[in-house]
């Protein structure tokens, strides 16, 4: 579950003098910085191992139609015992079947597509909204600042899960509503970080210099301030994908997220939850998969934060 660690992502201040370089030099300096951040990340063995794990899951999700032994939604007659119970591991069903006689391994692989897609898209939306509102409120100040910071505080008073339930009660649950609900309840953390960063950034000399030569506000935000927000946004995004996957699973578990019969890890756990006494494996596989992936995103995200911080 999302906790406040994300609001503690440190504000990374720009190196001095960047604003005085011409475009080419600036690009080179930025590339050098990126390389050194990457080098620092590469030295963190655990984070790199987790990055590999993430890549394996992404690959598995992309190749799911090739890797999966069966159609994830097909209910096999042979997938249930004679008295209607799911099967354990067999050569035909490597991880057994679920209560509807569907192949668990195939559902895990196709579930990776839904879970990762929701995680990535929800995070993209979260970061876009968060950076935009945070930057605008920090840069312009005035009534925009008042409205946006108040909105952040109000939204923080909303329990994510309950807002998800409310949205599900009003709209038909779908992948899209799940993405929107997650973004609607997560953007505030990013907005806060960006807001405080922009408050500092806009006082720097390269911003006053740009303003002095008549560069417009929007161009200053886009060309001069936004680049400094990128590292933090990347660190946040990596953590955010894990959090979003977790939220998707939680909402799906409460029947407020990805609807059945679509396989997502959360909906698989939800489907297995009434059956845990007979066959805990139905919960164990998707739960462990989920935990490994979310943990991997968390550790890589922390690693990136550390690498960025060290600059």
């Amino acid at each position: 579950m999302q906790r406040s660690e994300l609001s503690d992502v440190p504000a990374v201040l720009p190196g001095t003098g960047i604003g005085t370089l011409d475009d080419e030099e600036r690009a080179m300096a930025a590339a050098a910085k990126r390389r050194s951040t990457w080098a620092r990340l590469r030295r963190q063995r655990v984070a790199m191992a987790c990055l590999v794990i993430i890549l394996i899951f992404v690959l598995a999700a992309i190749l799911a139609p090739l890797l999966a032994p069966h159609d994830p939604n097909f209910q096999f007659d042979s997938g249930l015992t004679n008295d209607g119970h799911p099967l354990g591991s067999t050569p035909f069903f490597p991880l057994g079947t679920d209560t509807a006689g569907r192949d668990v391994l195939s559902r895990l692989l196709f579930g990776a597509r839904i879970s990762l897609t929701v995680g990535v898209l929800a995070t993209l939306l979260t970061v876009t909204v968060g950076v935009a509102l945070g930057a605008v409120s920090g840069y312009f100040g005035g009534w925009l600042e008042i409205i946006i910071t108040r909105l952040v505080d109000i939204m923080l008073a909303f329990p994510v899960v309950l807002l998800g339930l409310a949205a599900a009660a009003i709209f038909t649950p779908s992948v899209l509503t799940t993405i929107v609900v997650i973004a609607a309840t997560q953007w505030m953390y990013m907005a806060r970080v960006v807001y405080s960063m922009v408050l500092t950034l806009k006082e720097w000399e390269f911003v006053s210099a740009a303003r002095a030569v008549g560069v417009g506000d929007w161009r200053i935000i886009w060309r001069h301030i936004a680049p400094h927000l990128v590292p933090v946004a990347i660190a946040y995004s990596t953590l955010g994908v894990g959090i979003s996957i977790l939220l998707e699973a939680t909402l799906s578990f409460l029947n407020a997220g990805v609807p059945q019969p679509t396989a997502s890890w959360g909906s698989m756990i939800a489907a297995g939850k009434d059956y845990y006494r007979e066959d805990a494996a139905l919960m164990l596989y998707p739960g462990l998969t989920l935990a490994v992936v979310v943990l991997a995103f968390t550790i890589v995200g922390d690693g990136i934060s550390k690498a960025v911080e060290a600059r």
Binding site: S4, S7, R150, I154, L162, L165, I269, K273, M283, V294
Partner: protein, 308 residues
């Protein structure tokens, strides 16, 4: 202090207004006839007509909103479509169970936090310190509902040590697993924050003074560093109240603990919109009020805040 509290109360009203606007907007977005939706899936034509009238749906939107706001401020959250009673009453009946669970979770979190936070700050980079870090990372990465069901399976079902959810006599036995499901991972998380805060405090002058007068490291940490180190933890915990309640909703659903979270979950399955929306509004208000409580607590713990 008093003017500070008044300001904070004004803030609660603002939150309530904001939350009302958001829930009102959500309801306005309902596709099709809101009255049919609001009256529930099995309502008769007469009930639908009554609902339309009581919601004031024949009036323009701004008037509808002020109508809605006035009713909300009077504690009128509408009629539940499935429970045959006002939403407000249904909420009040369920609040004690949720409050009991919340208190149990917070106590568990605090016990775990103090024990492991202090120990890992006394022995940094030791095996136990790394284990705490590992548990904290796992705690935020494992889905709470999954941990809950696994606990139900092993401790409740396989070992039969504790009941399989629900509520009964003695009630404390039914509270253990739900409280542990949320409290233990949360506790490890705060233990990390407490440790970081303690390590920072240990470099302060007054701690060095305490140490130079010959106090044992244990006493230095507990008596001198801890009171200051706890303040940032409190601030973060107050910010996490929304997460705490979100987690409680899930835990209640897993363990069939009869609080407002389980009610909201069941209301969603029954498409009881007024009950779901009412619960959201109510919880947001509670969180805003608890935030004030956390502020007051912070002032009591940290006299420096009073000057601000």
């Amino acid at each position: 202090m008093l003017s500070y509290l008044v300001r904070r109360l004004g803030w609660v009203l603002l939150v309530l207004l904001g939350v009302s606007i958001i829930t009102f907007t959500l309801v306005s977005l309902i596709p099709g006839d809101v009255a049919i939706f609001y009256a529930g899936p099995h309502a008769s034509a007469q009930v639908i007509a009554e609902t339309r009238h009581s919601l004031g749906l024949d009036q323009p939107k701004p008037i509808q909103f002020f109508h809605y706001l006035a009713k909300t401020l009077h504690g009128d959250l509408g009629q539940s479509a499935t429970l045959d009673e006002p939403v407000w009453n249904a909420l009040l009946e369920r609040v004690p169970a949720t409050a009991a669970l919340a208190v149990a979770v917070i106590i568990t979190e605090m016990v775990v936090m103090f024990i492991f936070g202090i120990v890992s700050s006394l022995y940094p980079d030791s095996l136990i310190d790394r284990a705490v870090a590992g548990f904290a990372a796992m705690g935020v990465s494992l889905p709470g509902f999954w941990v809950g069901i696994m606990l139900l399976y092993f401790i409740g079902y396989k070992l039969s040590w504790l009941p399989l959810g629900g509520y009964g006599d003695p009630w404390i036995v039914y509270l253990i697993l739900p409280a542990a499901t949320q409290g233990v991972p949360g506790g490890f998380w705060y233990a990390r924050i407490l440790k970081a805060s303690l390590v920072g405090t240990l470099h302060q002058d007054y701690v060095r003074t305490a140490r130079s007068k010959g106090l044992a490291q244990r006493l230095v940490v507990i008596r001198h560093a801890l009171p200051n180190a706890i303040i940032p933890v409190l601030t973060i915990a107050a910010m996490d109240l929304g997460q705490l309640f979100g987690g409680i909703v899930v835990v209640e659903a897993v363990f069939s603990w009869p609080g407002i979270g389980l009610m909201a979950y069941q209301a969603l399955q029954a498409l009881d919109v007024p009950l779901v929306i009412g619960t959201v509004l109510f919880t947001a208000l509670c969180i805003a009020l608890l935030n004030i409580l956390a502020d007051v607590l912070r002032v009591l713990v940290d006299p420096r805040v009073r000057l601000a």
